[in-house]
Symmetry: C2
Subunit: 86 residues, 2 copies
DNA sequence: ACGCCGTGTCAAGAAAAGTTGACATCTGCG
DNA sequence: CGCAGATGTCAACTTTTCTTGACACGGCGT
């Protein structure tokens, strides 16, 4: 991945933080435990430093009892903007 | 990931092959190009040698015009079976 | 003031995902 | 037959994801 050659750029977003608060103020540590990843990893995912593996994504969705696409969304933007499409 | 310590084991399955045939006999190479990954990578994913990144998963679903959960599914099994739960 | 908890972040390293290039097999077609 | 396309697979390598351990910072309760 991460090749300048392909037409569509994909960006993955997530609603983990709000879901976590909605779920009786669950802490990052708690969630991380339930998912089966480290606290730092969850922190990075939640903060969108990188996107998780599909498996981890499924696990997260499961904890919240929501379909994956309600936790993670993907936007496809056209041609890598020179400046940012106004 | 891949820790023996967590309670639920997750296995990811996919319907890429059938979708690919349904889509006018699209070849692995074609699909790989449209997704933006190599033919070998797609082959591995399709054959479930490993599960893709969330981003690639979204890209695949997009090509087929289906929601991600219709292309990839996740099963959670309890306690790592000694033999396979009858 | 002090400790504690939740969070953000860094570094170093292991593991998984993805890359290229090569080669084997199988099918279908001239 | 001979050849081309589609697929499966291997090896070596890069990049991304995930791990542990550490430390800093901002509340908040006592």
């Amino acid at each position: 991945m991460t090749k300048g050659s392909d037409p569509l750029r994909a960006t993955v977003r997530n609603h983990i933080r709000s879901l976590r608060f909605a779920a009786s103020e669950m802490t990052q540590q708690d969630l991380a435990n339930r998912i089966g990843v480290s606290r730092q990893t969850l922190n990075a995912i939640e903060g969108e430093k990188y996107s998780p593996s599909l498996e981890v994504a499924f696990r997260i969705a499961r904890v919240f009892g929501k379909p994956l696409e309600e936790v993670f969304t993907c936007q496809f933007e056209a041609a890598p903007p020179r400046k940012r499409p106004k």
